[in-house]
């Protein structure tokens, strides 16, 4: 293994937000609100600035040596097992770090305005800072265990922030749901990690960290026999965190949290952790076509499945939530077909436009006195000009309109899917792209066009948001436009800089993953055709959505009544998946818990026999033993003598 350059700034990128969380969390009410908010923003801003500094340093290095490490200490060293507390930044981590701290900083600033009147202002920022710390641990962790520490940390913060307004029962339930569903995924993640450990440990030299990414990559051939199992187990973890089928169900409910949280955690950063992890472990996934195929299929299925559900949602944030699930499906699809760089590209552009959409929807909700139902909105175009224009940019970006950010990443994913020969998956992805455009335009039409359907009082209060909220919107809108330009593909005369930047990280992935890589070099006609088709398809979706929901409401009504309204009801009820899980797992679980586990095992066996029985036994034994502990020195001396006599007699007879 080559040695890597040291960079002690990395630890401060991670630790600065932790410091902020600690100060705000511990001082809490003793800290003025203004100071708490500014401190939280400052620490994340510092993280971002340091990330930029390190990024610039990386630019100065030649591509093969762009891996900076910062090992703080050895954490576990037992036998052959060695785990360091350390951070590493390579091209992949650099992208993630910039996105997380950059978008995170904007959302912190936005929250200053959004949460200004909330009682839990300081607690909110403490959690938010803690989240950035955990996310940076996840992204910059030098080994899989550090990644897992961050993984659990963001899970915890997600839970805390979903149930941030814990006095509402629905919020608490949503937080619990997210936590429990993620546990199922984490179970898979842990098993995958253990499997890596048992496989690698016997072969390692002492002092080699088995879970260090560099070491794992170096020894990847050793993992080949169990790569499929590991890949699938880790992917189970990713389906939890990144809300894929079958564990996506927690994400829509997670919208119970404050909107900046939905933007930061449940759209831009945390939910992409699964994609990041799979991209990070690309050297493992390329060894297992089976796991790759599963990843791709699940991703494509999630993309279209969630897209259809989004068609029939009326809560503005629920639409965006299902849209997020669907977009995450695209990222997984990219990883599954071996286009890890494109998956990460989409992570980045999606972070821009989805954070923008969420924040803008937050601005709408803010203006509508915390109303989230789109059916009572409408006509907000004139009253919220900044929100309207930025929202429109976000919508065009997610719909894949040229030359906005979403076009480049989504189109590249579809192209890689096509060129790797997965025609079926391409069709699914293509259909889902049209759906995306349609439901997004439906959202825009219902919210911003037409006449306002809210009550008189609410209408009276509608106002544009303060600058702390609108400035981040504008910045994100700009990023949603230009963010994709770093990855303009070669056939359009661009340099595909993004792909080249990540190339050293995914060197193995490209060799084995994309069969069509060589094919792509000369056959640009097909790329042009597909790109044109997907733009046309997106614009068509947008137009349809606009026409149907602003001009021809009767058509929408007819569509709703189609076949007795059954398809609509199915979509509105999200395919009854929650109900199915409820019937298949949760209620039988409760029944099992009540009748067998509680009444039978807990009350009968454990309480009756083991607890009370053992308590009785202990009480009896202890009271007998107490008799021995009678305080009489003579008796103590006698017992010493007896013990000794037995020992000596034993020795005499056994020797």
């Amino acid at each position: 293994m080559e040695t890597h350059a040291n960079e002690t700034l990395l630890r401060w990128i991670v630790l600065a937000p932790l410091l902020g969380a600690a100060v705000i969390g511990l001082l809490n009410r003793r800290l003025p609100r203004r100071v708490a908010g500014l401190l939280a923003c400052a620490t994340v801003g510092l993280s971002f600035a340091l990330s930029v500094v390190v990024f610039l340093r990386m630019l100065g290095l030649d591509p093969e040596h762009r891996r900076l490490t910062d090992i703080l200490a050895s954490w576990v060293a037992y036998g052959n097992l060695r785990i360091d507390i350390g951070f590493a930044m390579d091209q992949l981590s650099a992208v993630m770090a910039l996105v997380v701290t950059g978008v995170g900083f904007l959302i912190h600033v936005y929250s200053l305005g959004y949460m200004a009147h909330d009682d839990g202002f300081r607690r909110f920022f403490a959690y938010l800072n803690l989240f950035i710390f955990s996310m940076m641990t996840l992204v910059l962790g030098e080994n899989l265990v550090m990644l897992f520490v961050g993984w659990e940390g963001v899970g915890l913060c997600s839970y805390l922030l979903i149930s941030f307004w814990f006095d509402g029962e629905a919020n608490a339930v949503a937080g619990k749901k997210a936590f429990v569903v993620n546990r199922i995924g984490d179970f898979g993640f842990l098993l995958g990690m253990f499997l890596i450990g048992v496989t690698l440990l016997p072969h390692l030299a002492p002092g080699e960290g088995a879970f260090s990414f560099a070491v794992m990559q170096h020894h990847a051939p050793l993992l080949a026999p169990v790569a499929t199992a590991i890949g699938l187990l880790l992917f189970l973890g990713a389906t939890g965190k990144s809300a894929q089928i079958p564990l996506y169900i927690w994400l829509p409910d997670a919208m119970a949290g404050p909107t900046p949280v939905s933007a930061l955690i449940h759209a831009a950063t945390m939910v992409t952790a699964g994609v990041y992890m799979i991209a990070r472990m690309n050297f493992l996934y390329v060894l297992t076509p089976t796991a790759m195929a599963v990843v791709a299929a699940v991703g494509a299925a999630t993309a279209i499945f969630a897209g259809t559900i989004a068609l029939a949602q009326n809560d503005i944030k629920k639409v965006l939530a299902y849209s997020t699930v669907s977009q995450l499906g695209y990222m997984m699809l990219a990883c599954g077909v071996g286009a890890f760089a494109m998956g990460i590209f989409h992570v980045m552009t999606h972070a821009f436009f989805k954070a923008l959409l969420f924040l803008a929807s937050g601005s709408v909700i803010h203006a509508m006195s915390h109303e989230q139902d789109m059916r009572v909105m409408g006509g907000l175009r004139r009253k919220l000009p900044v929100t309207w224009w930025t929202f429109l940019v976000g919508t065009l970006a997610i719909a894949g309109v040229f030359p906005l950010a979403g076009f480049f990443s989504k189109d590249e994913i579809l192209w890689k899917t096509w060129s790797s020969g997965n025609t079926v998956l391409w069709v699914i992805g293509f259909l889902a792209a049209g759906l995306t455009a349609f439901y997004m335009m439906r959202l825009v039409s219902l919210t911003f066009f037409g006449t306002n359907r809210a009550s008189e009082e609410v209408r009276h209060h509608i106002h544009e948001s303060p600058a702390t909220m609108t400035v981040p919107l504008v910045i994100l809108a700009v990023l949603s436009i230009v963010g994709g330009w770093v990855g303009i593909p070669a056939f359009m005369g661009g340099g595909a800089h993004f792909e080249h930047w990540l190339e050293p990280v995914f060197a193995g992935g490209h060799a084995a993953g994309t069969h069509g890589a060589a094919h792509a070099v000369h056959d640009t006609t097909m790329e042009w055709i597909l790109a044109g088709a997907s733009v046309a398809w997106g614009v068509l979706g947008l137009l349809l959505g606009w026409i149907v929901y602003t001009r021809r409401l009767a058509v929408a009504e007819a569509g709703r009544r189609f076949a007795g309204g059954l398809p609509y009801r199915i979509l509105e009820n999200k395919y009854y998946v929650d109900e199915a899980y409820d019937g298949a797992f949760i209620r039988p679980g409760y029944r099992l818990s009540r009748t067998v586990l509680w009444k039978g095992i807990d009350a009968g066996l454990i309480d009756g026999l083991l607890v009370n029985g053992s308590a009785l036994a202990v009480a009896v034994v202890a009271s007998v033993l107490r008799l021995f502990q009678n305080g009489m020195v003579r008796f103590y001396a006698w017992s010493i003598t007896v013990g000794l006599t037995v020992f000596v007699l034993y020795l005499s007879f056994s020797g």
């Binding site: 001396a637 010493i640 020992f647 056994s654 020797g655």
Partner: protein, 504 residues
């Protein structure tokens, strides 16, 4: 026999230096107390702290090399330095805790400080002993001073009773120990460990002498570390003695006892493992189980901690059992035997340190609270609502108790992990299972105190003057308990390197 070279050469002096510092310091404290009239009552404690620190400094500065010195009397090097640091550290903590109490109750007892120093001197000699004579000398110096410490609260019936019981039973067990040494001397014709090892290796002499002798010696050491069935003095003495002395006895005396137990076990291991192994296995299991079972029903926190210290002696004995297990004795697989032996012995050392830290943290808090007046000051129910009235003290005690229960991320967990891992490595899975079940049982009585502190409320307790130096010291220990629980590596490696000095 031992052969002193007179006059002593420079190396011998450098070996003796830490012992001279502590012993001379004890005399100095006595003289200062007797002759300096303008003495304020804190001054002796500062002087004592200086003596302990000086002993640490000289050991950092002066390295007399490795191996037996002073005619084979004492073992110099990392092993003895490890224990000397531990004893000095515990001595410093005990001095701080004791001083805090003196300040409050006004019953100023200057004899405490020189006695503490002499106890530590005895322990240092005991841990470094390489000769039966040194063993006895160290053990008796330690014990005599501890008897007085335990009975040190004059006018308090329970303390006097504790001191007296400890004296009578301690004398009783010392007689057996001395008898065992005599038998061993009769067998080997020498008191030096290396000489005994040579005679044992050649297999000369009457076997009955060495088996009976080792049995009597095991009993003597077992008494000091509170091994069942030689434990019965423990609850009475721990309960009666003032809490800072109890904390000292539960940590330093136990560590000294295990130091010599390890030495003797290693000495006799090649020839006598067959005899010691099954007996010690039974004793270890009994010690763990009895300690935990009886601790379950205690309502007095000092008695509870006394029984818990018996249980911990049981865990530690598992390490000694592992050293004597067939896996270590197996000549066919020497490399494996060595790693197992080393990991067991280093686990015992790590455990001793971790256990000392968490126990001192617990006793530091119990100590200030047991001084708040009332016969029931140590009753667990008096700890109700402590978290609200004294959050730092309550948090410190909670950390210490969680660690004692072996819950991560505290050092108690790592200590148990290393220990049980060594036990498993030796192939003694049933013993490890018994150990784990035992620590599960122990969770109940440790958590009970935490529940009372944090989840029960009570009317304001009249006592509010928690002495902050003691609490801060205990808090620092609790922080160390957490730190070593998260980052045990460096320290575990140090313990392992200490072990490598010993013969295997």
């Amino acid at each position: 026999m031992t052969h002193f070279e007179m006059p002593l050469d420079a190396t011998s002096w450098s070996v003796l230096l830490p012992y001279l510092v502590i012993g001379g310091g004890g005399l100095l404290v006595m003289l200062v107390d007797a002759f300096v009239r303008t003495l304020k009552k804190d001054h002796l404690s500062y002087l004592t702290l200086c003596v302990f620190l000086a002993s640490i400094v000289v050991q950092i500065a002066v390295h007399p090399g490795e191996g037996p010195r002073l005619g084979g009397m004492l073992l110099a090097g990392d092993w003895s330095r490890f224990f000397n640091y531990l004893f000095a550290g515990i001595g410093i903590m005990t001095t701080i805790f004791a001083t805090g109490i003196y300040d409050r109750d006004g019953r100023y007892r200057p004899e405490f400080y020189p006695l503490l120093l002499f106890t530590v001197l005895g322990m240092m000699v005991l841990a470094a002993a390489n000769d039966l004579l040194a063993v006895f000398l160290g053990l008796e110096t330690m014990s005599l001073a501890t008897y007085i410490l335990a009975g040190g609260v004059r006018g308090n019936v329970r303390s006097s009773e504790a001191g007296f019981k400890y004296l009578v039973l301690g004398g009783f067990s010392s007689a057996f120990l001395l008898m065992g040494m005599a038998l061993l001397y009769g067998y080997a014709g020498d008191t030096n460990f290396d000489a005994i090892a040579r005679v044992l290796a050649t297999g000369g002499g009457a076997t009955i002498l060495v088996t009976a002798g080792s049995a009597l010696m095991l009993m003597g050491f077992g008494f000091k570390v509170a091994m069942v069935p030689f434990h019965m003095w423990t609850p009475d003495v721990y309960d009666g003695a003032p809490a800072y002395v109890t904390g000292f006895m539960a940590t330093a005396v136990k560590a000294a006892g295990f130091a010599i137990l390890l030495r003797v076990a290693l000495l006799l291991q090649p020839q006598l493992a067959w005899a010691w192994y099954p007996v010690l296995t039974v004793f270890a299991v009994l010690t763990m189980s009895l300690g935990n079972l009886v601790a379950l029903v205690q309502n007095n926190i000092k008695r509870m901690l006394a029984w818990s210290s018996i249980a911990h002696a049981g865990y530690l004995l598992l390490g000694v059992v592992t050293l004597l297990s067939p896996a270590v004795g197996d000549p066919a697989r020497q490399a494996l035997a060595r790693t197992v032996g080393e990991s067991a012995a280093s686990a015992v050392l790590f455990y001793l340190v971790g256990y000392s830290l968490m126990n001192l943290a617990a006793f530091g808090v119990v100590n200030v609270l047991s001084n708040r007046g009332g016969e029931d000051a140590d009753d667990i129910n008096r700890y109700a609502g402590l978290s609200r009235r004294r959050p730092v003290a309550a948090a410190t005690l909670a950390v210490a108790l969680l660690s004692l229960a072996g819950i991560p991320p505290f050092v108690g967990f790592m200590a148990k992990f290393y220990l049980f891992a060594a036990v498993v490595k030796a192939g003694l899975v049933p013993l490890a299972v018994i150990g784990v079940i035992n620590s599960l049982v122990s969770v109940y009585y440790y958590l009970r105190v935490i529940v009372v502190m944090y989840m029960k409320d009570t009317e304001a307790d009249s006592y509010d003057g928690v002495e902050w130096v003691s609490v801060a010291t205990a808090g620092a220990l609790a922080a160390l308990v957490l730190y070593l629980g998260i980052r045990p590596d460096a320290f575990h490696a140090a313990a392992a390197s200490v072990i490598r000095q010993l013969p295997f």
